[in-house]
Symmetry: C2
Subunit: 139 residues, 2 copies
């Protein structure tokens, strides 16, 4: 069944992180993010089956502190750089503030995944998790 | 301002593609997808400023024909492969059916981007566009 927009997304979990201040968070996960934990809701537990230590995952989040009315930004918040369209940047401020984060799984404890390289703030809702794709013949 | 869930996403455009049948579409964009066009709404045009021919983009879509109640699947629809949690697969069927597609821009005409390697079906809503990130010192 095709549903008409707008569409509704429901968090499947939350980020637990020492990061609480957007202005102090690293701009990308590989720029100094601390270890953090993805805590999933019990109802999606079957969807996690097969996630193992060492897995490389893409985590989609809802950047709930973003400004959805922003269409142009100074890249990386640097006012010395000319404004660009948000779709050429990773700014959290954008019409649909969905964050995309590549992380590595450090440990698995039921519905809790400890991960590396996640720059999302504490409490950020998690929307989806996908594997990083290998080459076509390994899929 | 932090808003409580659920969250609402609004399409910023649509996919125009020769692909209309999910069963006939390639499973990933680099497995034989035809050229297609991203047609954005006029209100987000400023956000596209700076997207050029040859750009490598990540396109986030809303997979509006997905089954949101699915948590386990046979990978790639192959019933000979054991079931896995959806979060270890790229199945379109998942609680928040957000598609993630890596494409290359072939041409730009106002709010229309012609792209390569997009396996989304005709009419699929577009939610967001992000650049593929280069190494940290080039951001």
């Amino acid at each position: 069944m095709v549903v008409d927009p707008p569409y509704t997304v429901h968090p499947i979990g939350r980020v637990r992180s020492p990061l609480t201040d957007r202005d102090l968070a690293p701009r990308q996960g590989d720029e100094g993010a601390p270890e953090s934990t993805l805590v999933f809701t019990a109802d999606v537990a079957p969807g996690l089956a097969g996630i193992a230590v060492g897995a490389e995952l893409l985590v989609l989040t809802w950047l709930d502190r973003a400004d959805r009315d922003v269409l142009v930004v100074h890249p990386r918040g640097d006012r010395d750089r000319p404004e660009q369209g948000v779709f050429t940047t990773r700014s959290p401020d954008r019409p649909n503030p969905i964050g995309l984060h590549r992380v590595t799984v450090l440990s698995v404890d039921g519905t809790r995944l400890r991960v590396r390289d996640l720059e999302a703030l504490d409490g950020t809702p998690v929307l989806d998790v996908k594997p990083v794709l290998g080459p076509p013949d390994e899929r």
